[in-house]
């Protein structure tokens, strides 16, 4: 049924009633009912601004892949054709932090790499989210050693932790869907600028809390008799060269 401005209103109403009878009472989708989108007539939509902004953000996340180990292989598989991350709006892995809003840290992070990860996170524009993928990024994993960051949440804030060693692509996708869920529930108009509480050169936690959450746990306390802190009685050679 076309929209004819010359048609009298009675005729249009009669035609509409006839059509409703014909379709058994169901509303009929017409160009007129759709607000004139297809016919060029002016139309409008009422909704919440939060909903529209969140809808736009969640469906076009640009991930910044920070792959340092075997988890990165699974991340590549997630982006490849079989699992096809593009289904969820991630058309483009952004290898530039300036054009990314989701940091996926896949793999172990050494202390030498920690300032790099921190710098990349600081370079990403707001709003931004981060995923800690795998056991090593989340907690240090089996690498409870001198050179490894015990969880990247001591370096940057983390939104979603994906467990696994490494996680399967389904796991990473589930984590990304949880990020999308988080975006959907956020209120961008209320929290217009996200709180960035990182202090230059300092961890995300106070020292005593960081020591608490990174202390050895489970079987790892039995790994090495000379493990742990200076106060544990580890022998220090007096002639041990300092750099």
């Amino acid at each position: 049924m076309g929209l004819n401005p010359d048609e009298p209103d009675e005729t249009r109403r009669d035609a509409h009633v006839a059509e409703m009878k014909e379709s058994g009472g169901l509303p009929v989708r017409t160009a007129e009912a759709q607000g004139g989108i297809f016919s060029g007539a002016p139309g409008f939509l009422t909704t919440r601004l939060d909903t529209v902004v969140n809808w736009a953000r969640e469906n076009s996340l640009w991930p910044m892949p920070f792959g340092t180990a075997c988890c990165a292989i699974e991340m590549m598989a997630t982006a490849a054709s079989r699992y096809d991350l593009a289904r969820f709006g991630m058309e483009r892995m952004s290898f530039s932090p300036r054009q990314a809003d989701l940091l996926i840290c896949a793999g172990r992070v050494s202390y030498k790499m920690a300032p790099v990860l921190r710098r990349i996170w600081e370079q990403m524009p707001q709003p931004k989210w981060s995923i800690s993928m795998g056991a090593c990024a989340s907690s240090g994993g089996v690498f409870d050693v001198y050179s490894m960051v015990q969880g990247i949440d001591t370096i940057i804030p983390v939104d979603v932790y994906v467990p696994g060693c490494p996680p399967r692509p389904e796991g990473l996708m589930y984590g990304i869907l949880m990020i999308q869920e988080k975006i959907r529930r956020a209120s961008p108009t209320a929290d217009w600028v996200a709180d960035e509480s990182l202090i230059e050169g300092l961890p995300t936690l106070p020292a005593q809390h960081l020591d608490l959450v990174t202390s050895p746990f489970g079987n790892s306390t039995q790994q090495n008799r000379s493990s742990g802190l200076v106060s544990s009685g580890a022998i220090v050679r007096p002639n041990d060269r300092q750099p």
Binding site: Y111, P115, Y146, S227, G228, L229, A234, P243
Partner: protein, 243 residues
């Protein structure tokens, strides 16, 4: 550590390989029941007392122990002598057997023309971990010696750029592959994280870059301006052009 066998194994690991009764470091090389290696005989003829010991492991892998004083002379002879021509340095590394034993510095040589392999070992006492660099004999030793310095603290005299290579430049906990190094390092996790985040990677240049900055009249970062950078020789950099 409830399992006594496990503890016994750890103790044995700490003690390292046991020496035979009465054997000392300077004990004479065993008599001629070993498979022959022409280089070993030539080394004995040429350097005599400087060749301390000779071992054969795994059937045909010959190990020659030499003293730390004449290592540069002997290794240069091995490369340049027409009968030997060990023109490929496969590896430079070290072994710490723990319990105060000498550190073993290992050179893995391969002669491409003669298709001959030789392993040179130098035993270094823990209070004098110094040896001449073979940087100008095999350029391949550049990063290998840096790694050995980083991990074991062996100082290679004459190396033009003896910096840490694996650990961060501001690492101050010692040398991680030593047996007396605690598994989780000497500092607390909070201190390690704080130090790593305070590292400015762009403030640490190689001597090549320092030399370039000097020639271009560019200022150095304050942390490097104090001593002119790590390991920069007074005579300037070789291989960067005429001074």
């Amino acid at each position: 550590m409830t399992d006594p066998n496990f503890k016994k194994g750890l103790d044995a690991l700490d003690q390292g390989p046991a020496r035979a009764a009465g054997e000392t470091v300077e004990s004479p090389p065993p008599a001629g029941d070993l498979p022959p290696h022409p280089t070993v005989d030539a080394l004995r003829d040429t350097f005599g007392e400087a060749i301390l010991r000779h071992e054969v492991v795994s059937g045909d892998e010959h190990i020659v122990y030499i003293g730390p004083e004449r290592n540069l002379e002997i290794l240069r002879w091995l490369r340049d002598n027409p009968g030997e021509r060990y023109d490929m340095l496969r590896d430079v590394t070290a072994i710490d057997y723990g319990n105060g034993a000498f550190l073993q510095l290992v050179y893995e040589l391969w002669s491409i023309p003669n298709r001959r392999q030789l392993r040179i070992k130098i035993e270094l006492p823990l209070d004098r971990l110094e040896v001449d660099s073979v940087y100008y004999v095999w350029r391949a030793s550049d990063w290998l010696e840096r790694e050995t310095f980083d991990m074991f603290g062996i100082v290679f005299r004459g190396h033009p750029d003896l910096r840490r290579i694996l650990m961060p430049y501001n690492y101050a906990e010692g040398h991680p592959l030593r047996k007396d190094f605690p598994l989780r390092g000497r500092f607390t996790r909070a201190e390690q994280t704080r130090r790593s985040l305070s590292l400015k990677t762009e403030d640490h240049y190689s001597p090549y870059e320092v030399e370039l900055a000097k020639r271009l009249g560019q200022p150095l970062p304050s942390v490097m301006a104090d001593d002119g950078g790590p390991g920069v020789p007074e005579s300037g950099m070789p291989g960067i052009g005429a001074q």
